[in-house]
């Protein structure tokens, strides 16, 4: 009788903090067969990371394992002594860490991290190795994760590598001692879509080649389809349901799973929504707008211009949901801030309604016209101010008499589906979605005509995202607003926007209605971008544009050495 590679049985873990004990894992059972790829999905705080830490034995000091067992290859982990457990780390199972920057000690070279991990694992298993031998083995593994120049990588400090390169080093770290089980904790989540897709491909390829088992921890259902045979859905520390991924995706039994799946906007197929195209006069006009930032360099501070936006011309019609897509550093946020009058253009001319600002002119924020909703609701609300204090600022600005403030605030909260009682609450008393609603209410308070939405949903859980998007849609219809929607989430933009523009290195490379752009992308970068989006079904996968290897490489320069 063979036993599964990993078997977790009725695991209960609790954390104690501030004199209270929180039950974090409740009767969690999970099984991974040899060579199997299993995904553990769930939203923030569902207990996925705690589960992986329980397996690895890296739970924080305030955690307590109340009951249950974890068996690896038939051996009970909780019955082992420290030394035996340490011996398993990196050799029996290992983890691909999530955040590529903070996962390295900033004052040590990459090579030092790799060599120490290898040296101590060798020492535990009684293998004698010289520094030279270890370097040779490390180089092999680095090449395996497609880092071409191992010596250079090892000599670099973490901050000198790109995010994609660091993520590859983290994968190499996990592979150093040929473990049988690989645990991947949201790999590539912090990276751009195209890089993330490369990373997932790499992990899949390595799992295949080495015959590893994989535990993929993620909140992204698209990632699950690419990397797992079986799925466990987790919520509030409990396994909600589990089964083969196709079964779960096509026939979810629990409402929570259903909701999770329905919350994902489809990229292709019947479920896709086409937003009506606005046939109105443009409210925003950009003529050959460029914006560059001065970067000091050299001892005597020679100033060099770093172009963030280059010669951009575009029109946004009134009432439109204009989507601006691009990866980090593409200049989309700079462009939006230039439109809002927070930055002056270096060259070119911008017209917003009747306001104009151009090269060399003093700019003032166009507060009456434009307002913004930020990406992270945690940082866009002042922690020391209540909801009503936050809302009173724009009301004061539009010179609403003090006596009418409260009525207006209540109606604003009502517009974003929050009860009046929330007026006296502080931000820390609100959930992420609620905070974002307050931020939207603040933006609406000054009666703007244009709302800039800077990735308003990317910091939220999938199920909350859906509600916020629905709210934004309703508000636009009710109030006749124009949206400038900045995002890198293309599947959301496909369904939410009426017009979409793709930015690459400060330039708009392609624009049109989402239907046009997605069915027939012209620019190779657009094709690479769409191809990299993790989707939910094979049918959608097939409708994605095909990208040749050269095209793909062209836009992935940073990820390689």
């Amino acid at each position: 009788m063979t036993h599964p590679l990993l078997q977790i049985f009725d695991l209960n873990v609790s954390f104690s903090s501030y004199g209270r004990s929180t039950h974090v894992l409740k009767d969690v059972s999970l099984k991974i067969e040899k060579g199997e790829r299993v995904a553990l999905i769930g939203e923030t705080g569902s207990g996925k990371s705690v589960t992986s830490k329980s397996i690895l034995g890296t739970l924080p000091d305030n955690a307590r394992i109340d009951s249950g067992s974890i068996r690896f290859d038939g051996q009970e982990l909780f019955a082992m002594n420290d030394k035996e457990r340490e011996a398993l780390k990196g050799t029996a199972f290992s983890i691909i860490m999530q955040d590529p920057l903070s996962s390295f000690n900033p004052v040590f070279r990459i090579g030092r991290h790799l060599d120490d991990v290898m040296y101590f694992a060798d020492k535990r298993s009684g293998v004698k190795s010289s520094a030279k031998q270890r370097m040779a083995r490390i180089s092999d593994v680095l090449r395996q994760v497609q880092l071409e120049n191992p010596e250079r990588i090892c000599a670099a400090y973490p901050f000198q590598l790109s995010g994609g390169m660091r993520q590859r080093v983290l994968i190499a770290l996990a592979l150093l001692h040929r473990p049988t089980l690989l645990i991947a904790d949201e790999p590539g989540t912090a990276l751009d879509v195209t890089t993330q897709s490369e990373i997932l491909k790499l992990i899949n390829q390595l799992v295949d080649e080495e015959g590893l088992s994989l535990l993929m921890i993620t909140h992204n259902l698209g990632v699950v389809r690419q990397t797992a045979d079986r799925v466990y859905v987790m919520r509030h520390g409990e396994i909600v349901e589990h089964g083969p991924f196709r079964e779960i995706f096509e026939n979810p039994r629990k409402d929570y799973t259903k909701g999770l799946i329905e919350a994902i906007p489809p990229l292709y197929g019947d479920g896709v929504v086409d937003q009506p195209v606005a046939e109105t006069r443009p409210i925003i006009k950009l003529e050959k707008v460029s914006k560059s930032f001065e970067v000091k360099s050299g001892f005597f501070g020679k100033k060099a211009g770093y172009p963030a936006v280059k010669e951009t011309t575009l029109n946004i019609a009134e009432g439109e949901i204009f989507g601006l897509a691009g990866e980090s550093g593409s200049g989309k946020t700079t462009l939006a801030r230039t439109i809002m009058g927070l930055l002056g253009p270096t060259t070119g001319r911008i017209t917003v309604a009747t306001h104009q600002h151009g090269e060399g002119e003093k700019v003032t924020p166009l507060r009456e016209l434009t307002q913004i909703v930020y990406q992270n609701p945690g940082t866009s609300l002042n922690p020391k101010r209540t909801v009503s204090e936050t809302l009173s600022v724009p009301l004061h600005f539009v010179k609403l008499p003090k006596s009418e403030h409260r009525t207006r605030m209540v109606s604003l909260l009502d517009q974003v589906n929050l009860p009046e009682s929330y007026l006296s609450k502080y931000p820390h008393e609100l959930s992420g979605g609620q905070k974002q609603r307050v931020a939207i209410a603040r933006a609406l308070a000054a009666n703007p005509r244009i709302l800039v939405l800077d990735e308003p949903t990317s910091a939220l859980d999938v199920s909350v995202q859906k509600d916020v998007v629905a709210l934004l849609q309703r508000l636009r219809e009710e109030l006749g607003l124009t949206y400038l929607f900045i995002s890198h989430d293309l599947s959301l933009m496909r369904n939410f926007c009426s017009h979409i523009a793709i930015m690459l290195k400060g330039e708009i490379v392609e624009q049109g209605t989402p239907a046009e752009v997605f069915s027939n992308p012209q620019h190779p970068y657009t094709r690479a971008l769409i191809a990299a989006i993790p989707v939910m079904s094979d049918a959608e996968e097939e409708q994605k544009p095909k990208v040749s290897e050269e095209e793909r490489q062209q836009f992935l320069v940073q990820a390689r050495s």
């Binding site: 690895l56 780390k89 290992s94 996962s103 040590f108 120490d116 101590f120 901050f159 000198q160």
Partner: protein, 342 residues
């Protein structure tokens, strides 16, 4: 890498020269706007008005401030800090005579401080809430709560009563004769002269003043080392190493130690100001006869040229110490030099 390091270094030196210039202006203005006529002070209350006027003339006190400043600075860069109003000797000569004793004391103090505070901080962070943590807590509290003059007095009483033949005053035992070495540092000169007995005596004499002077800063540095160590322990990179079975001793003493030395070093730079200040009290109590004693004397006698020189040199002392620390920081943290050179 090395190019950017050099660039960062030059930038720093440039910045410090700037600070020094502004510092000299501030001190100059303070010295000139204070009430009381330096010429009158120099000549004493019995001098006639005519004498005072002549003195003012010769001191250049009637020139415009900017002229006075430029002529003072012009001389200062050539090492001429003016004459002491009381002794009539060149201030720069006096400074050169007295400075080595203080520099020696301060360097020994700093070494002692780091030797005690950093290991203590690391140990208290590693064994939180154990007996060693409590020892560290008491030491750091004592450092910030007991004035260094009280520490010095208590030590002197204790040693005088309970330890035989341990010196509580001066730099060296006078019975061993004097030593006229090239550096003025007794520890170095005695070795150069092959006088082991003087070396040993100088070491003995250093113990009490260095300890009294170090205690305050030991408290601060132990505390900051402990708290950064603990903060860094929570970081993801520690989890990375733990996840791959790197032993916790290696994580603490290699990885965390280097990363956590940044904060105490930075604090050390600022502590230099209070260290130099406290040296004035400690030198007095231990009859050290160094630069600080000279400075205290000059201040008490209102010897304005000497006072200016003392404040200016204290500032230079602080600036040089911070320059050294900045270089150390750039060597430890590669991000610093990369950022500075940008």
């Amino acid at each position: 890498m090395s190019g950017s390091f050099l660039e960062a270094f030059l930038k720093r030196v440039f910045g410090f020269i700037l600070v020094l210039l502004v510092l000299s202006v501030v001190i100059f203005i303070l010295a000139r706007v204070v009430p009381g006529d330096p010429a009158r002070i120099a000549l004493g209350p019995s001098a006639s008005q005519a004498q005072v006027d002549a003195m003012r003339q010769s001191m250049g006190l009637d020139d415009p401030l900017i002229v006075q400043y430029l002529s003072y600075m012009g001389k200062a860069v050539t090492g001429d800090l003016g004459k002491s109003l009381l002794s009539g000797k060149q201030v720069s000569e006096d400074v050169l005579t007295f400075l080595p004793a203080t520099v020696e004391l301060v360097i020994v103090t700093v070494l002692f401080m780091f030797g005690v505070a950093v290991p203590l901080g690391v140990m208290t962070a590693k064994h939180r809430n154990s007996w060693i943590d409590n020892v560290g807590r008491i030491v750091s509290l004592a450092g910030v709560t007991v004035p260094s003059f009280v520490v010095a007095i208590l030590l002197q009483i204790f040693v005088a009563n309970f330890v035989d033949n341990w010196p509580i005053l001066g730099r060296v035992d006078f019975q061993l004769g004097s030593l006229d070495g090239p550096t003025g540092f007794l520890l170095i000169d005695s070795i150069l002269a092959g006088r082991g007995d003087i070396f040993l005596s100088a070491c003995q004499h250093l113990v009490l003043p260095a300890f009294s002077l170090a205690l305050a800063s030991i408290g601060q540095i132990t505390r900051i080392t402990r708290s950064t160590m603990i903060e860094n322990q929570r970081r993801d990179h520690v989890l990375t190493l733990r996840s791959f079975g790197v032993p916790s001793n290696v994580i603490v003493f290699r990885y965390l130690f280097k990363l956590s030395s940044i904060a105490p070093l930075t604090i050390m730079g600022l502590e230099f100001a209070s260290l130099i200040g406290n040296a004035f009290v400690i030198e007095m109590l231990f009859s050290w006869g160094g630069f600080a004693s000279y400075g205290l004397n000059a201040i008490m006698q209102k010897d304005i040229n000497a006072v200016m020189a003392v404040v200016l040199i204290s500032g230079i002392f602080f600036i040089v110490a911070n320059l050294v620390i900045d270089i150390l920081l750039a060597l430890i943290d590669p991000r610093v030099s990369a950022k500075e050179a940008r």
